[in-house]
Amino acid sequence: MIFLNVDNPSWMITPIIVPLTAGLLCFLFQRKTFAIALSAVLVNLLAACFLIGQLLTCGPMRYSMGGWQAPLGITLRTDGPAVLMLLMTGVTGFAITLYARGYFSFRIDDPGGTDRHQQQQRYFWPLWLLLLAGLNGLFLSNDIFNLYITLEIIGISAASLAALSGKPAARLASFRYLLSSLLGSLTFLLGIVFLYKSCGLLDLDLLRNLTENGPGVRAALALMSVGLLLKTALVPMHFWLPPAHANALAPVSAILSALVIKGSFYLLFRLWFEVFASSITTEALNVMGGLGAGAILWGAIQAMRQHRLKLMVAYSTVSQLGYLFVAFPLSRAADNAQVWSIVIFMAMAHACAKSAMFMSAGTIFLHFGHDRIQDLTGVRASLPITVLAYGIAGVTLMGLPPSGAFIAKWLLLSWALASCQWWWVLVIIAGSAMAMIYVFRVISRFIVIPEGFSSQKLEFHSRLLEWPALALALISLLLGLVAPWLLHILAKGSIDLTQILPGGLP
């Protein structure tokens, strides 16, 4: 019964174990896979909520797997950012699961469909659940090598998912994705090696407590950062992202864009602002900010020129990621909790909005057989809810109030102005303006019904295709209104080290 206590830290393995097990089950049984996946995702969501509750009542927790304490054992821990990321994954994942169900059954029921679709569905569930387990592991893990493992799990399953559509372009994109992901993880691993060589520690909490970071640790940080940047697809290393995301199946695109990218970014952010915060130099922050600014502008410019909807959405991901990095140089004007709040708001809003957008794009693709923007006039007449979802998600991307992205941009601008770094202001505003252009370029097509337009009557409507997207879009839009609550969770900071290690450092 002790196990079932609310304050038992071992609850935190649920989000890792459940999807993992469910993934295996899906792989083994091949029947009722949706039911298994759905229940796993549901449990995952509940677990995320539970962990939030736990965090709020008992504060941050640490759990050593198998009873092995750090530095030897692998530890998990919950704190504000981690549970919020779990929540984000849980909510988005749940909606994506529902959508995927609708997506696959639509394709399978399509009279012109082939076995291929059935097969895609069969592989989708286990891979997706594996990916989910990897992501949750990444958010919870407190051991840097374990983080590498989760990164690899994510990388493998994501690359496989990206290849799932079976189109030549998708396979090629997925191959490139896999290679760059490998390059990234190997660089990360090299960094771990340097780190271990310099201080012999792998536990993040312990590493944070190092009083002095030698050159080895700093080199390790640089290498790990580059590896993670590659995985996060920050300009100029974004080359793999647009083709991989745009050519994948719609639910997969949603997963990749909304969640996978966030995983590596989350890790990078943790390393820079928690673990090695003391060794970060202002110049390095500025370089990151500069790259972020480049990403905002370049991604937006590329998004504006795209002719295909999904590619446009993919490039907008490149652009939106930039905002996360612009927070780096501004962190000097604020304390750590505030920087976290920017990143969390931005990431959550973007996750919900982007997955909603990809879902909408997928639905449109399914119904019209293409996603050429110029031929999508009057989509609203056939798919009103999808278009609404797309529009609301677009509002979030533009950073208009009351979306979560607005809160993030507000904070960014606020610090930029407070510390007189007005050039970031210009970049942020330019990015928003361009987001407006690429979002509305599409929306204006969708909602306009010219005279004499005969809308295609669609016989088959799947609610699962439309409503999850709308729900996510609404969440992203209204996220700003629950900001105080999120901030409250975030304020539950990380663990006091003396509590965990009464014996002091080894």
């Binding site: 208009l400 505003i429 204006s444 306009v448």
Partner: protein, 498 residues
């Protein structure tokens, strides 16, 4: 939640809920849609009237909702917001009636009316906003909800107009956002209050605050169509007439002007602005806009385009009034013009819409003798136009009168000259239209006579302009009565202690 807060929420919901339901209604159920729309509008007006009374009796209407430290949403019913909310809701009712008549038998009405309702919800939100963040929230949403209306026709021209509208509006919004954040950084969170922020900041951060003021005006000036940020407005007239009416008289341009009022009176406050010395700038921009709008209107042959330029010119009266913020008379003139311009301009747009919808007339050169075919419409148009010129007893005179007195009280003689010139120019472009319509000889048949029936046009198209035209006259004729826009504006000015 006390009843005041409940009232505020239900004011917003009274158009939001019908809007959402209308989105979901199938195209054919126009009767239910109309009923929903009208019920929403009537309920909204009644609620707002209750709020007005409450405000007059000294109740506070306030809802706070903190977001992040220093940023909170605040809905607040003060006399000024009551003014704008009442105007918008009343005109919304009329515009809805008009739109129902206007769009009879045209496609995509669910969509149209859905956005229509959302648009008004947002406008009321702007009226009730109690601080800059909330204002910004609704201000940006206004762009979003009006955009589908602007491009409703779906032609290339309307798409282009929509594109420009968006570019202008969001650029303005971005500048506004920067300014708001900057202001918060300097003076901390500011709620709209009668005095503005503490004058201590003006001493310590004078230059920065002046710069922020300029940015705020630039940002909001896009919607208020101040020259040179007005480019979107004449293009946006490709939208259907009810939308133009909405843009010009109820929502967008008015929201911009209202924003200027809020910034001047509530954010900075007269005291600070005088110390900062930025008011001449606002006055200068307003003056240029007044003259430029009138001069461009002189050139137009397209009726709606002419009206658009006239709006540009007229709305700047409000800004002009605000630039003399230390003069109560000028403030009265500016504020009351907020209402008066709305009444007059909506009349004119209704009439222009009637001409286009009934006879297919879009150009002034085709209007010869049209008053014989549509006497009531043209009578309403005439009243509106005379109001624009400022002929008593229309409301236009009342605004100009107070503005003139205010500018004299401030010692700005030249502003009086500007008002005079503007009146003359207004006469130069409105009077020829009236002459044509009433006394011109009809040369050929009407371009396309679409409606033949008992009245000169559909009743639903005819009633709203008649009502507004009557109000233009009546509100002017009883300007000094207990219940009139002027009386309420005087109440506001008293509240501000000017």
């Amino acid at each position: 939640m006390n009843w005041e807060q409940l009232l505020l929420v239900s004011i917003l919901l009274s158009s939001l809920i019908p809007g959402i339901i209308i989105f979901g209604l199938p195209e054919e159920r126009h009767r239910l849609r109309t009923i929903l729309n009208l019920c929403g509008a009537v309920v909204k007006i009644s609620l707002i009237v209750i709020m007005d009374i409450g405000i007059y009796l000294g109740h506070t209407f306030e809802i706070r909702m903190p977001l992040i430290p220093g940023v909170e949403l605040l809905l607040n019913g003060d006399p000024l917001s009551a003014l704008f909310a009442t105007l918008s809701s009343v005109l919304w009712l009329l515009t809805t009636i008009y739109a129902v008549g206007y769009l009879e038998d045209s496609p995509n009405r669910s969509h149209f009316f859905g956005y229509f309702s959302l648009c008004v919800t947002v406008t009321i939100g702007i009226a009730l906003a109690g601080n800059l963040v909330t204002f910004l929230l609704f201000y940006e949403m206004l762009t979003l909800t009006t955009y589908p209306l602007v491009i409703h026709r779906g032609t290339d021209k309307s798409l282009r107009a929509g594109r420009n509208y968006l570019i202008y509006a969001f650029s303005g919004g971005a500048v506004f956002l920067i300014a708001v954040i900057w202001l918060q950084n300097v003076v901390g969170p500011v709620d709209f209050s009668a005095t503005g922020f503490s004058p201590g900041f003006t001493d310590s951060h004078g230059t920065v605050l002046a710069l922020i003021f300029v940015l705020l005006i630039l940002g909001i000036g896009v919607k208020a169509a101040l020259v040179p940020l007005h480019g979107w407005l004449p293009q946006a007239m490709v939208a259907p007439a009810p939308v133009s009416a909405l843009l010009h008289a109820v929502a967008v341009v008015k929201a911009g002007a209202f924003g200027i009022v809020r910034i001047v009176l509530d954010v900075y406050g007269a005291q600070n602005l005088l110390l900062l010395g930025v008011l001449p700038l606002l006055g200068g921009i307003a003056t240029i806009t007044i003259l430029y709008g009138s001069l461009r209107a002189l050139q137009q042959d397209n009726l709606k385009r002419l009206l658009a330029f006239s709006t540009i010119s007229q709305v700047s009266y409000i800004a002009l009034g605000m630039s003399l913020v230390d003069q109560p008379l000028a403030v009265i003139g500016g504020l009351v013009h907020l209402v008066h311009q709305g009444l007059m301009k909506i009349t004119l747009f209704f009439c222009a819409g009637n001409l286009a919808e009934t006879l297919g007339i879009h150009h002034i050169s085709k209007m010869n003798g049209v008053a014989r075919r549509m006497p009531l419409t043209m009578a309403a148009f005439t009243i509106g136009a005379l109001g624009m010129i400022g002929i008593p007893p229309t409301v236009g005179f009342v605004s100009k009168w107070y503005l003139g007195l205010g500018s004299l009280a401030a010692g700005n003689w030249w502003l009086l000259g500007i008002l005079a010139i503007s009146s003359l120019l207004n006469g130069c472009y409105f009077l020829p239209i009236l002459i044509r319509a009433w006394f011109g000889k009809q040369q050929e048949s009407w371009p396309e006579e679409l409606y033949v029936g008992r009245f000169e046009t559909r009743l639903m198209l005819l009633l709203p302009p008649l009502i507004t035209a009557f109000t233009v006259m009546a509100a002017g004729a009883v300007a000094n009565a207990q219940i009139s826009p002027l009386a309420w504006v005087r109440f506001i000015v008293r509240e501000y202690g000017l």
